[in-house]
Symmetry: C2
Subunit: 159 residues, 2 copies
């Protein structure tokens, strides 16, 4: 394995680790548990689940990999806070979306080449990217991995 | 910048981002605030601060970079949970340790070469490393970055 592949694999391992830890936590919760707040007056588990699905799905857009599957969740789970009064899918729908979204992202990541990973994401111009080549698709993955870890730290408090 | 330096820089950027977000949060808390729990019955801010210092400092050992500076925090902040009854340094001491630890780690990271980052850490044997070259020092940094993000997600709940 050359160094380029090693690094990509390291970033994918870090992603997989956070996703599988989150999955393990969610699998241990009943649908009723998902209605709970992580702490009194804070976000519900359901809101954070929808938030993670929508933010993770955003990578499909940033990577220029076609139509997003869960853009319809952005309004209730990214653009607005919990308890906004907006409709939310029920717990079992979001559980299914979570699994499907992860499978879709895994499949996408698997077919990406090193050149893809080190290319600019769609929210950057060519000029910006020339100045800061560290802001590539792989850096988006690192960033989203940290985002999952951040909210996983919150989810586990509901235990 | 060649690709090797680009991805080391990406990992360092991800680390710096989590540390500076945590720093910004801590700077906005009074010493009295640090006594608070992140949620009723959960860890105190002070415990999580000591925990982060001790775990981050552990990289000095894993990187074979000499004596650790904060190994004395392991007992109260890693090996035991909050409210163990063990002595804890006061808030202003831990704030100082946090800043000094981050400065020490930054200085260490800055002088590490790409060869250093892609070499095995001290908790791995040569045989293990030959089988899984992704488990190098840079993967430790990615992992510890996720660990900071996880606990930062908890710290901010005290707001």
């Amino acid at each position: 394995m050359d160094q380029q592949h090693i690094f990509i694999q390291m970033a994918l391992n870090a992603w997989d680790m956070q996703i599988s830890r989150t999955e393990k936590f969610l699998d241990a919760q009943s649908d009723a548990d998902l209605q709970k707040e992580i702490a009194p007056g804070k976000n519900s588990l359901l809101y954070l689940l929808g938030h993670l699905i929508a933010v993770n799905d955003g990578m499909i857009g940033l990577f220029g990999a076609g139509e997003r599957s869960y853009a319809h969740l952005d309004e209730a789970f990214i653009k607005n806070p919990d308890k906004s009064g907006l409709d939310m899918p029920d717990a079992s729908t979001l559980r299914g979306d979570w699994k499907k979204s992860n499978a879709q992202l895994s499949a996408l990541f698997k077919q990406m080449t090193p050149e893809d990973w080190f290319s600019r994401h769609t929210a950057m111009t060519d000029e910006d990217f020339a100045a800061t080549p560290t802001r590539n698709k792989l850096s988006v993955l690192l960033n989203r991995t940290g985002h999952v870890a951040y909210h996983l730290g919150q989810l586990v408090l509901a235990k």
